[in-house]
Symmetry: C2
């Protein structure tokens, strides 16, 4: 059987502190042939698009007490991807099927647990890579987080942090469709421009230009904030707490500022939870999977009508993956960070 090259991005060692490109290695391995072994019930996929998501950083640490196990050093990094089935010993998949779910950061992955990927319809009218963003985990996080956790009402005021990111850009657009006033914070003037001029946010600001986040929020929310969709934690959360309205809701979706260990100051304004009767709720999209079909229908419909748009930051090739991942944690990406492994 012919030997086939299989490029892989592996974790070299467990990470302490902020991950660096050198914590990962792109290596050329090989596999004998492009078949799934008979009797294995496995199937072989060719990876097309891979997703960089902030939660993956936590899997790079040996001990982190979270909800999924750490990566295995020396093995390809695992993450969400879109792939094409090449060979299959699993009756549920056949060559040519397009699948989405958990795969490896490599050209080809042999999938032994068939529940980790599901077939997707390539004819929905959305780019395949959007199954990692708009129609994937980030999109569903925005959907479940906004509609289920935030309990939004028409006319309410909404703050979204990391607003041009994979999740934030959709939260803002869902909120606009719901009749809310939406302000986004982001980390560059280019992102602010996108938020205001492409994604339809009412207002947006570059938090790096604001020496006083409390004052910035008072400027954009003179009547206060009903809903804060928090993707970052840290200083922005503390400033938002000062500006919440009575019966406000904070959906705690991500704490990038804590992932990246850039913020050791702690949160000081939680006493506002009492006087303003704020509900602060952490959530995982995986607790809402019963809503996934309804979400896909909603997102595809709104996208095809032109009511929502989705911004991706596409990198070409597995070689670009370590830099893309590290860049994501410092906000270099503009929009959802995706690695294109192969164009077909």
């Amino acid at each position: 059987m012919a030997t086939v090259k299989n490029k892989q991005v592996v974790l070299k060692r467990y990470v302490e502190g902020t991950p660096k490109e050198t914590d990962m290695e792109v290596q050329q391995s090989s596999r004998s042939g492009l078949t799934a072994p008979k009797g294995s019930s496995a199937f072989l996929v060719k990876n097309l698009f891979l997703s960089c998501d902030p939660y993956m950083f936590r899997r790079m640490r040996q001990y982190y007490g979270s909800y999924i196990p750490p990566f295995v050093p020396g093995q390809p990094i695992e993450g969400f991807g879109v792939a094409r089935v090449i060979d299959s010993d699993d009756p549920a998949f056949k060559p040519g099927d397009i699948v989405s779910g958990t795969t490896g950061w490599e050209d080809y992955s042999l999938i032994r647990k068939h529940e980790q990927l599901r077939k997707i319809d390539p004819h929905l009218g959305v780019p395949l890579s959007y199954h990692l963003g708009l129609l994937g985990m980030p999109g569903f996080t925005a959907y479940a987080g906004f509609y289920e956790v935030c309990s939004p009402k028409k006319g309410e005021t909404v703050l979204v942090s990391a607003a041009s990111g994979a999740v934030g850009q959709l939260v803002g657009q869902f909120a606009k469709l719901h009749g809310c006033y939406v302000v986004g914070s982001a980390g560059s003037s280019q992102k602010v421009d996108l938020l205001k001029n492409k994604l339809g946010f009412d207002e947006a600001f570059n938090y790096k230009d604001e020496p006083d986040l409390d004052a910035a929020l008072k400027r954009y929310f003179p009547q206060g904030i009903d809903i804060y969709f928090d993707n970052v934690g840290g200083y922005m959360l503390d400033a938002a707490l000062l500006n919440m309205r009575v019966n406000g809701r904070i959906a705690v979706c991500g704490m990038v500022s804590q992932h990246a260990h850039s913020d050791h100051r702690g949160i000081h304004n939680l006493y506002n939870l009492i006087s303003k009767r704020i509900t602060m709720k952490g959530f995982l999209q995986s607790d809402y999977l019963h809503l996934f079909p309804r979400f896909v229908e909603h997102a595809v419909e709104q996208y095809c009508r032109g009511n929502i748009t989705y911004i991706e930051d596409l990198c070409e090739g597995l070689d670009s993956a370590p830099a893309a991942f590290v860049g994501l944690l410092s906000g270099k990406n503009v929009g959802k960070q995706v690695i294109c492994v192969a164009r077909e």
Copy 2:
């Protein structure tokens, strides 16, 4: 008309930092007679018991952005009290009525807003002073916070901080009646003893004896905490966050450690909200007043059956009030802090 002495406890000036006894002054004033002016629609009460509550500290500051206005320097401090009506130009009240609600820290108070006091039944079988604790704002806070905010289920594990305090002692007893496993934290061995031997907590510990609160909580909650009823904020909240179970709930009731400015470290463990899908909710008992009649019925019934008990720390006389209030903020009190102004 005879001049009558009226001792008063006044706020001398707005407080910055931690209040001291010298921020208050006990002064001898006088009033002409013990009557409510004709045509005033007011009524005059003789104060019997006054309540020291931590929230009052916030009213001693000029600017604090909270839900009730600050005290007025030079005027008697306002708080909850139990009083007897002496004279009345208000048809809703007559001499001899026992009332509970907001009154002044003085011997006699002329009440112009009749909604600030309500008549109570002195024959319920509970001491009159209990209308400031068991049947008052603290008791109702425990009731609304535990049953409405914490959504408790039989068999769940419950942590209560400031557990022997006015609110905490009832939260723990309600939780035990509900079939929960309850652990209380308090600040002295005497309080720990009361929690275990008089109030029926399953376990209790002195947080001052625990150099590592995280380790302490892991000892008492090897399977984690379902409900944390938080009366203190600060270090205990941070340690509880590390030990919450999936779908845990934190009722944020008080942040004494922040009131007292003793904790500037901030909260660092909020990322647990996400991985454990924790709901953290601040609340005010005043949002649940529709439940007040049901609460009184429940509390009186359980008290009269001997299922719950209530511990008070009674100080004698208005002269003792400043020290009692300051002591409350540092945890000197054992049980609900009450000032007995007059025994009848």
